[in-house]
Structure formats: structure tokens, C-alpha cells
């Protein structure tokens, strides 16, 4: 199947533009995950599976501080050394290089100031895990407790912030609000999310036979893990190699946070001369590593007579935890996504990062995008009944139209896809009949109500920071025609390696079975970006394609001589090399490769890719930071039990734009998985810290699978239909595809909004429904109670709306004064 060339990118004689597909490509085929057979048989190896293959391994266990904030006044390791099996205790004194786990120099690896409950102040190495644990218990630490800031309310009140403040604005927000027909304002605070990758953090470090430090790590960012290990050890990067076999899930949680742990293992290995394994158990992982940022939002919005948004003013405050980590770019993405899919002519949105004595919050699928988008979706869901129209109509009538641009100045290319997806979804899901059925059900049932909601997604693809949008790859063709590829991306379950095998097979024109992909290592492809921002396939696919095309270009010369045709007429398809018009002169790929070797033609290549056309002014928050937008929409139906607030997700329909899919089975898996993970964030997953003044202040009380509940089978939609938007070729991207990792998570807003609809059905209608986030059964129950009373009221326990904003707390309160006065903390 050949694709039409939509973009004007220059093409070599042999290869078309990046988006073009050759005949019979391996991309676009529905293939299972490349490691599926290994997964199901338990043969797939993860970092911790390597320890039984590694003799003499030492085990590491942290000494966790029992305070949210304290000074370490004394640290005596000698009692630990008396514990049988304890080999060494690592402290700040052991660090030959820089005592920091990050790149911003605000994350001491061995701290003297405890910044959160569970902060590791030292690490014990033991012959067994049991010995290391007992050793950690024996380490004597004196602390001087200090006052702590835990909640966003406390941080805002105390003025505890960190990092840069940013503002996205366009036009005049005051003027936009002033010309509104109706204005509303409110406050909304919503929770974070634990990654709960099934495989917890793990590193295995050793000094290998060549004297280099070799670290196997479950990391999304091997290059940065390498850099941090090197700076902690005080050695150049070339002295450290990091390998990631695969991860048992990452979701952003392993973008930054594995570095310090890998550095501890590496430090232990260099000091003891023995391999060191550092694996966090679930409680340690939840206690010590960062999560999705909780946010506080304060907003004011205006609508004209036709319910079009006229202006928005808002302040977003993220809870960054104790150090910056990725909080600044997360905030930037939140600010760049508060518009979601809606045209907001006049807008001013401020962002700031609170500093609290909690884990350092980090990347999590969506990277601030969900936190920005939930604010506008919450606003529209609350305001629709007060405007007297359906939420569906309010959303639809504010969708971007072609020709419009985002508040940060990027044209919304293919905005027409939003309305096309919207209508296709409604048609596929039988929307109008379903609305009638829900109304009929609700009329017939007093204590059970159903709700139906549709929400859109527009998500910008590329790293906001332009420099990260580059990638490398290494492709080797051996004399027998077999192919080995390496690239800078990591596999965490998202199917990147599968797609890369498909890209290589397509670009070389060989069967997938002849291509093998070797584990990600920093000594193969250097200076890689994190596998993050959904960009893994775009970037690394571009680099692999580039490397393959260098090789086929050389092979084409060889084959052309063998076939007696022009090199530009040589075609590589499924392991067969032919020339146009020379159907009878078929050569095998291996024959051509063999000939090339004897002619001393290079059979390997290093590929490189940089995303073209990006620019971004991080200070002014203006530019075109994204290569393109991924679009989608979801329609969800829920049923709420008014007695308890418990609910079921009856059905979800999704239409999502992945461009021309590289790998449909993988892409559908990403969409479904992202959706359910987003549903978990919005409905079920609740991080609770001890915010009392008691002895456990600052302790995470939901630090285990038994107290922090992920979606299980009972939370998946009972009926689940995912459709990939068709005729969606994305020009300028590898084989016309689009990124898929993050955007589908935000399709889950449809569930939250459907819950709001169902809750509203318990009441008289026409009033705002305030729903806590996560919308746990308890939060839904309180919202139902409020709806039944016929007046809005913040959910009692779930909505932690700040008391400091009590005046504005009854969110959606209509602003009567025309004044643009706006409370700023």
C-alpha cells in the first residue's frame, strides 16, 4: 500500500518523505508485543531477575527518616556494622563526586536535612536483604525536628514556593471577562497519583572486567542515569555504562527518580568491589519516590450569550514536593493545556510550584497536561447547568476551529479533526438514543441514576524543551542478511521496541523475523533523551529509519549493478530486492548484502533524527513547542448507586487519532490502558498523607497496594469500544504516525463528567455539581446528597478545597460584580 505524499519535505531519490510508506510495509500490521511470548512464559528478564545470575551480590536497604522535616544532628553507623552480614554503610562521607541525585543540585543524595517522611539518610549494604534491613534498623540517627509544610493550602499560606513562575497569556483577560454575558469563579483542588508500575525501582551495579561501572537499571532515561552516576562517583560519563533491559512499567515515574538509586548502588559497588542490588519494595517505592503533582486551581471564566468562552483567568499551583525534579516542565505543560480543545480568546494563566515536605513530584503520563485540562473540563462541567445548556453542547460549541491558535501562539493544525472525531464518536456510540435511554432509566429509578458524557482531548506532542527532540540509533546488517538494531529509547511496556522492529523491517524491506533488537545501553547510543513525552516512536523511529536508509542507499548501488538498473529504481520488499521493471531479476536481501561486503561497502549505520520546525521561548511561554497535536474523544456511561455513591462504568466508546498507526494492536493497547489509568486517577486512586500534628505527620498513609487502590477488573468499562481515526496521515512524522503514549489518559475525563451527570440526576437540575477528585464512592455520595438537597456544596471529605479561599470555595459561584478584582495569594 503506497501512501500519498502530503508533506513537502525533501526526499532522496530512493526514499520518500518521512511519512511515506513503501509497498507492503511491516508498519501498520497488527503484531503482538515483540516480547509477548517471553512475558507469558516468565522468561522476560527484568533488572531484579539478574541477581541470581550475578555471584556475590550485596543488598541495599535505606535508613528512612521518621520526620517530615528535620536536621540530622548525628549519624552513627557503628551499631549497624555489628549486625551479622552487614558489609558497609554508605553515607555522605563516601561520595567522591557530587552528593546530588539530580541535575538541579537541590536533591542531596545523602541529606543532612530531612525533607520528607521516609527520606533516606544512609544506605546499608548486607550479604542478605534481611541483614541489610536489620543493619538499617541499627543505624543510630539523631534528628532535630523542624516545622513542616504539607498541604497546598499550607504552602500557599506560608508562601512556600520553588522554581520559576510562568504565565501563559493572550489578549486581555480582564477585557474578555468584562464583555462576558455570564461569569463564574471558583477554586478546585485535586489529587496526585502514584505510578504503581508493577516493577518497583531497581538497580544492579558492578565494576566490570574492563573497569567500567556497569549499572543495570529500570530507568526511562539511561543517559541521565549515567550522568548522575558519573557525577556522584566523580568520573567522566565514559566510565559508566547504563543498560535497561526492559521495565515493568514506567509511566514517567522512572524518568528522573531512578538516578539517585542507581548512584547509591554504583557507589556501593565501587567501594566494596562487589555487585550491589538496590531494589525498593512497594512500601519504600511509594514512600520515597515522586508521584503525579496534585494541583490547586483558582479561576474565573466568562461566557457570551451563545455560551462561547470570552475569557479565562486562572492561577495553577502545583505541589512539587521537596525538590524541583521535573516540576517546572510539568507546570509548563499544564499551562499549555488548560485550553484543552477549546478556543479561549482572552486568557491569562499563572503557574507556580509549591514547595512541600513530601516526595518530590515528578513526571507521570501526561506530564501536567492532565492537570491543566482537568481544570477547564471541571469548569465546563460545573457551568453548563447554570448556563442552561447541556455539557455536551457547551463543550462542542467551544471546540477549536481551523485557523485558530493556542494561547501560546501555536496554530491548531487539523482542528477540524476535533469536530470530525466528535461526530464520528457520537454516531458510533449511538449518542442520541443513549441520551434518551439514560433519561428514561433515570425517570424510572429513584435510587440509581445513569450519566453520559463526552469529552475531547487535544495534546501537544514533543518535549516542550526543544533540545530534547533528538534521537540516535545504530543499525547493523550482518553478512548473512540478519539485522541488529539499537536505539536510545527504553521499553516499559508501551511497545516501542515492537514499533522500532516494524520501522526497521519496513525501512530495510526485510521480514521482521530477520531483525533483532538489543537492549538499550548508553555505550551503544549516547546522549539520548528520556523515553517520555510520548515521543519514543517519533524520535527513535526517525533515527532508525535514517540509519536504515543510509544502508539501503548503499545497497541500492550494489543491487543496481547486479540487476543492471538505476539505483533509484531498486526496491527492497520483504527480503527481496528488485528493480522497477525487472521483476524477473529478484535477489535476496542476503545476496545483496553478501555482495556489498565483498565490495567493501559499509553495512552498518548510525542514524540520527531531530524534530524539525520547533521553537519555544520558555520565559515568555510563546512559540511552537509541538510538532503536532494528538486528538481524541471519549463517551462514557456510568451508573451511580445513590445509597452508597458506588458506581459502575457501563460503557466507553473512544475515537482517537494516532495518525496512520505504526502498530494497531499496540496503539489500541495504549489507548485502553491510558484511559483506565486516567480513570483510576480521577475516580479511585487517592494519596493520603498524615497532615495532623501527631508523631507521624508527613507520613504517606496510603503506602501499599492494600490502601492505595488501582483499577482492577471491576473498574474497566463493561463495554469498551476503541476506534482509530481513519485517513489520519501525519506528515513529517515517521510513516505518517502519531504519538499515543500519553493522550489517551485524558480521555478519562469522560468518566468523571459522566459521574457529574449522574449525580445531577439525583437533584432538581439546573444547579452546579461539585465533585471531588478523585471521585471516590464517598466523594460521589456527598455530591449526591448535595444534589438531593438541591444546592451545591463542596464534597465533605474528598474536596480538600482550601479554607483560605473559603469565599470562593463554592465554586462556580457566579460573579455579580463587573470588577475584575481577583484574589491572589
Amino acid at each position: 500500500m503506497t501512501r500519498t505524499n502530503y508533506d513537502g519535505a525533501s526526499a532522496s531519490s530512493l526514499h520518500g518523505p518521512l511519512a511515506d510508506r513503501p509497498a507492503n510495509p511491516a508498519v501498520g500490521r497488527e503484531v503482538p508485543h515483540e516480547a509477548a511470548a517471553l512475558h507469558v512464559t516468565g522468561a522476560a528478564l527484568y533488572t531484579d531477575d539478574l541477581i541470581t545470575r550475578t555471584p556475590g551480590v550485596l543488598h541495599a536497604w535505606p535508613v528512612n527518616a521518621p520526620h517530615a522535616h528535620a536536621l540530622v544532628t548525628a549519624l552513627d553507623v557503628s551499631p549497624a556494622l555489628d549486625v551479622p552480614g552487614v558489609v558497609r554503610v554508605l553515607t555522605a562521607d563516601d561520595v567522591p563526586g557530587i552528593n546530588d541525585a539530580g541535575i538541579k543540585h537541590d536533591e542531596p543524595l545523602f541529606p543532612t536535612e530531612v525533607m520528607f517522611h521516609g527520606h533516606a539518610v544512609a544506605w546499608v549494604l548486607g550479604e542478605t536483604l534481611e541483614a541489610a534491613r536489620q543493619g538499617a534498623e541499627a543505624v543510630a540517627v539523631d534528628y532535630e525536628p523542624l516545622p513542616s509544610v504539607l498541604t497546598l493550602t499550607e504552602a500557599i499560606g506560608a508562601g512556600s514556593f520553588q522554581g520559576a513562575r510562568r504565565t501563559v497569556s493572550r489578549g486581555d483577560a480582564d477585557a474578555g471577562l468584562a464583555r462576558a454575558h455570564r461569569r463564574f469563579r471558583g477554586v478546585f483542588e485535586f489529587g496526585g497519583q502514584e505510578h504503581f508500575y508493577l516493577e518497583t525501582m531497581c538497580s544492579l551495579a558492578l565494576v566490570d572486567e574492563g573497569g567500567q561501572v556497569f549499572v543495570q537499571s529500570s530507568t526511562q532515561h539511561p543517559s541521565e542515569t549515567q550522568e548522575i552516576v558519573a557525577h556522584v562517583l566523580g568520573v567522566p560519563s565514559h566510565a559508566v555504562t547504563v543498560q535497561c533491559l526492559r521495565m515493568g512499567g514506567g509511566f514517567g515515574g522512572k524518568e528522573m527518580q531512578p538516578h539517585g538509586l542507581a548512584a547509591v548502588a554504583a557507589l556501593g559497588a565501587t567501594l566494596t568491589g562487589r555487585p550491589v542490588r538496590l531494589r525498593l519494595n512497594r512500601t519504600q517505592d511509594m514512600t520515597m519516590t515522586g508521584k503525579r503533582h496534585p494541583f490547586h486551581a483558582e479561576w474565573e471564566i466568562g461566557f457570551d450569550e451563545r455560551h462561547r468562552i470570552t475569557g479565562l483567568r486562572a492561577t495553577l499551583t502545583s505541589d512539587g514536593g521537596w525538590s524541583l525534579d521535573l516540576s517546572e516542565p510539568v507546570l509548563a505543560r499544564a499551562l499549555c493545556h488548560i485550553d484543552n480543545a477549546y478556543w479561549i480568546p482572552d486568557i491569562e494563566v499563572h503557574g507556580r510550584i509549591a514547595k512541600t515536605h513530601k516526595t518530590s513530584q515528578t513526571a507521570f503520563r501526561g506530564f501536567g497536561g492532565p492537570q491543566g485540562m482537568i481544570v477547564i473540563e471541571d469548569i465546563l462541567g460545573r457551568c453548563a447547568p447554570q448556563l442552561g445548556i447541556s455539557a455536551e453542547e457547551l463543550r462542542r460549541s467551544n471546540l477549536y476551529a481551523p485557523g485558530q491558535a493556542t494561547p501560546y501562539g501555536q496554530p491548531v493544525r487539523h482542528a477540524e479533526r476535533l469536530t470530525a472525531i466528535w461526530s464520528e464518536l457520537q454516531q458510533r456510540a449511538g449518542y442520541l438514543d443513549r441520551v434518551a435511554a439514560v433519561e428514561a432509566f433515570n425517570a424510572a429509578h429513584e435510587d440509581t441514576k445513569r450519566g453520559l458524557a463526552i469529552t475531547p482531548v487535544k495534546f501537544g506532542i514533543s518535549f516542550n524543551l526543544t533540545a530534547f527532540n533528538q534521537a540516535g540509533a545504530l543499525v547493523h546488517v550482518y553478512k548473512d542478511g540478519s539485522v541488529l538494531i539499537n536505539h536510545g529509547g527504553t521499553e516499559m511496556g508501551q511497545g516501542l521496541h515492537t514499533k522500532m522492529l516494524q520501522v526497521a523491517a519496513t525501512a530495510l524491506g526485510v521480514p521482521m523475523s530477520t531483525v533483532r533488537l538489543a537492549p538499550t545501553r548508553t555505550d551503544k547510543v549516547p546522549n539520548t533523551s528520556a523515553t517520555a513525552a510520548s515521543s519514543g516512536a517519533d524520535l527513535n523511529g526517525g533515527a532508525i529509519k535514517n540509519a536504515c536508509e543510509q544502508i539501503t542507499e548503499r545497497l541500492a548501488d550494489v543491487a543496481a549493478r547486479m540487476i543492471n538498473c538505476h539505483p533509484a529504481d531498486v526496491r527492497f520488499v520483504d527480503g527481496v530486492v528488485t528493480g522497477i521493471g525487472f521483476a524477473d531479476r529478484q535477489l535476496t536481501f542476503a545476496e545483496v548484502v553478501g555482495a556489498a561486503y565483498h565490495q567493501r561497502v559499509q553495512l552498518w549505520a548510525a542514524g540520527f533524527y531531530r524534530t524539525e520546525g520547533l521553537h519555544w521561548d520558555a520565559e515568555r511561554m510563546q512559540g511552537e513547542p509541538f510538532k503536532y497535536f494528538a486528538y481524541g474523544a471519549a463517551l462514557s456511561e456510568v451508573e451511580v448507586d445513590g445509597w452508597t455513591g458506588a458506581y459502575r462504568l457501563r460503557r466507553t466508546d473512544i475515537v482517537h487519532d494516532v495518525g496512520d498507526s505504526l502498530s494497531p494492536l499496540i496503539d489500541v493497547g495504549q489507548i485502553e490502558g491510558g484511559f483506565v489509568q486516567g480513570t483510576g486517577w480521577l475516580t479511585l486512586e487517592e494519596l493520603r498523607w498524615d497532615t495532623t500534628d501527631g508523631p507521624n505527620r508527613g507520613r504517606l498513609s496510603t503506602q501499599a497496594a492494600s490502601t492505595y487502590k488501582l483499577p482492577s477488573f471491576s473498574e474497566m468499562p463493561e463495554e469498551f469500544h476503541v476506534h482509530l481515526f481513519e485517513r489520519a496521515t501525519e506528515s513529517g512524522v515517521v510513516y505518517g504516525s502519531k504519538a499515543v503514549g500519553e493522550p489517551p489518559l485524558m480521555l478519562a475525563f469522560s468518566v468523571r463528567e459522566a459521574l457529574r451527570q449522574a449525580v445531577a440526576a439525583f437533584g432538581p437540575g439546573g444547579i452546579e455539581v461539585d465533585l471531588g477528585s478523585p471521585a471516590t464512592p464517598e466523594a460521589v455520595f456527598w455530591a449526591v446528597e448535595a444534589a438531593r438537597r438541591g444546592r451545591p456544596e463542596p464534597a465533605l471529605a474528598a474536596s480538600a478545597a482550601s479554607e483560605a479561599y473559603a469565599a470562593g470555595n463554592h465554586s462556580g459561584a457566579e460573579v455579580s460584580a463587573v470588577s475584575g478584582s481577583y484574589a491572589q495569594a
Binding site: P32, H33, V40, T41, G42, R133, L198, G493, E672, S712
Partner: protein, 497 residues
Amino acid sequence: MQGRVPQESAAAQHGGTGVGSVSVNGRPLGLGPVGGHVTLLDWLRSRGLTGTKEGCAEGECGACSVLVARPDGDDRTRWTAINSCLVPAAGCAGQEVITAEGLGTVDALHPVQREMAVRGGSQCGYCTPGFVCSMAAEYYRPERAADQHATAGHDHEHGPNGFDLHALSGNLCRCTGYRPIRDAAYALDRPADDDPLHQRTRRPAPPAAPVTVTGDQGDFVRPADLAAALRLIAERPDARVVAGSTDWGVELNLRHRRAPLTVAVDRLPELRACTADDETIDLGAALTLSEIERRLDGSVPLLAELFPQFASRLIRNGATLGGNLGTGSPIGDSPPVLLALEARLVLASATGTREVALADYFTGYRQSVRRPDELITTVRIPRPLAAHTAFHKIAKRRFDDISSVAVAFALDLDGDRVARIRIGLGGVAATPLRARATEEQLTGAPWTREAVRAAADRLATEGTPLDDHRASAAYRTAMLRTALLKFFARTRGEVSA
């Protein structure tokens, strides 16, 4: 080949020696010096069988699921999936275990593995071996063929092939959103006749031979019979008694508690009877919840309503009523139900037996009248059973969650009046309790909306609920109230029908 034929002869080769072997994937594997502190998961991984994973170490995620050969009556075997992170490895001496590695290989996938692989049932793959084992247990479940006709198309939790989705309720996946896993489960055919694991089910399970292990990883003893067990715990007050070890395993892994001696009572024949006459139904305290569920087969509707909501299938395959009552937890799910059923407990010690009403059993937070030298042997449910019953579990998640509030009702009506009502509560006080004031108020009262509303207000005052990470005290109180209203609505439906 789909799994090798397990070795059945290993069981007889040890007992009381401190060393033994486990048949793993059809091959005997020496246990080595593993004491009571070492879990089956850690032992398997230490032997290079790293397919089985640790995800949470508390029996919540199922990444550690493996199959064990358990008795299915006297002459057959049932492949039973359990959380290997919770059970002591020493207790598996002489037993047969199958892990994902033993079900099939990359070149010869087991049908369950094949469906999971081709349908996109794995993404990161870390939870996958556990899912495969849980799914395989359901694949081999002998009743599945019959259920195929009974339940097909009835709800969203049973497949057209009779697959009960609750078999996977103890497995968490963070990647897929579950749809492809459900599709894989629902696509499974019947096991082939020559499937060795299927054939294995037609022969008796390995007996649980006595075991004694001593050493620096904690002593472990599986006594030969009840008398030996009672003698041992009378001598050793520091002994930790375990059946499924689903509670103790969590203490071991997460709170790092260590017992000098672990005593396994899960296979004592005296604790595994299930009998019924006109007066009572006797349930052996060491029967697993799954076994009780199968044996009662819906004959006690209130228990039938409880079981699917009690933890997960993986946990129910190990957990026992004796353990759920023995820990004395205020948030166990069986006590409210057994209180409403007016159950009595038979307690045995080396010096004799006694019977106590469950309502008199709990004395404080994790405290009971049971002495350290006593074992619960039998849970005795009096007959006749109440005509109308219901169990309301309030939790964040429908499958496999701990209740924030649990309420059980057992009601008999005399015309439109309440002849007798029993209400058991969990999660609202330091112990499970009976809502006696509400029971009293309703007894003899008309079963009407007005009377029930008044009683619901009373019910809301019973107990002293707390605020915690599961729920607020206000919500717990509200749930007590609405539970009765909801129960009333349901019985009206039943009565009019």
C-alpha cells in the same frame, strides 16, 4: 507440551527431617534450609525461577501467583492459584507447584499463554506470569464447562466459555486496562484430553505430610494431627499459627515481624470437615473460603453473597474462616456475616473443647476470648436460616478491597412485621459487633418505610467509626443508615416478587 507431569512421589520422602523437596514444574527441587520466614516466592526466585514476580508482597497484585495441586475431594486434584508471596516455602514440602515457566515455553505456549500473547494481554509483562497462572487455574476448573451454560451472557463477569472473571480479581495490571486480558480469558477453549495438567487433576493431590524445619530463618512445623498441633501451641506460646498465611504473610513482608516458630494447621483433617444436619451447618475452620464456597454451593445465601466480595480468588484459595476470626480484625468481612447468622465457634485446646457464640467472642481491637493455647476448629451456623439476608460491603473498589464499612442482615418477617432481625457490623468499632439496639427496635415493628427509616437513624448511631484513609467517619455513619434503607428496598422487591 503444556507443562510436565508433576512428580507425585516426593511427598512421602520427607517429614520431620528439616529438608524436603517441592515438585516445581514437574521436577523435584530441594528446599534447602528454608525456615518459616522464607516465602514460596522468595524461595522460587532464589532458585532461578524468576518468572514469578513480587509486585506488592501483600497478596494484592497477584504478580506472584502460582498454581498448587490441592485436594479436590479424595481422589482428584484441583490446580489452585495462590499468592506465593504470602505462604511459607517450607509448607510446600512434598507439594506440587507450577509456575508460568512450567506451563509452557516460548516455542510451545500453553493455551492460556497463547491467548494472552496474541491478543495484547501483556504490555510491560511484569504482571503477566501471575495473570497466566490465575487464568490457568480457571482454565482447568472442572465446573467451568457446566457454568458455560449456566452463566453465559448473564453478566459482565462471566465469559461465554464459563470463565469466571473473579478468578482474576486478585491480579492487577497497570498497563492494559484489562480488556485484552478479559478477551483472552473468554476465548479459552476446554483443556485437551492429553493435556498433562488436565490429566493430573484426575488423580489425588499430594498429601500434606508432617514437616519440621529448624534454623536461623525461623522454625516451621506442620503437625500430623490436631492433637499434635494443640500440644505444640500449648508448649510454645510464641508460636504463630497459620492456615493460608494470608494475614501473617503481610506481617512478615511489610512489617518485618518474625516468629520463632510457625505452625501450619491448614491441612489438619480435623479442621477440614463440612457437615450439615437439620440443626446446624458445621464449617471446618481450616477449609479455605473457596472450598466452603464450592461445598455450600449457594445453600447459605448470605455466605454466597459474601464470598465474591471477600478479597480475591487468590486470597480465598488460601484464607480460612478460622484465620479471619482468629486475627480478630475489626474489618474482616466474614464476622459481620457470621454475626448475622448467629454463628458459634468451637474452640479446642489440649485440655478440651468449648463452644462460644461469635457475638461473645470479640473483646477488643484484635482481641478475643480465645486463649493462646486454643484453636478454632469449627464455625457452627444454626438452622433454620433467615428468609431475607443481605451483605453490604462499602469499599473504594468492587473487586479485592478492604471494607470501610460492612453490614450483614438476616431477617424473618411474620406477615408485614419483623419476627426477628440480626445485624452484623464491621469497620465501625474496635471489634465487629451486632447492632443490638437497632435489632431490638425493629423486632415486632412493622416492616414499613417509616419504621425502617427510624431504625436506620438508630443504626447510624451504633458503632464509633473513625476517619482514616479509607473513609471518613461521617461517610461510615451515613453508610450504616443507608444500608438498612437499601436492604428494605431490596426485601420489598423480594416480598412483592
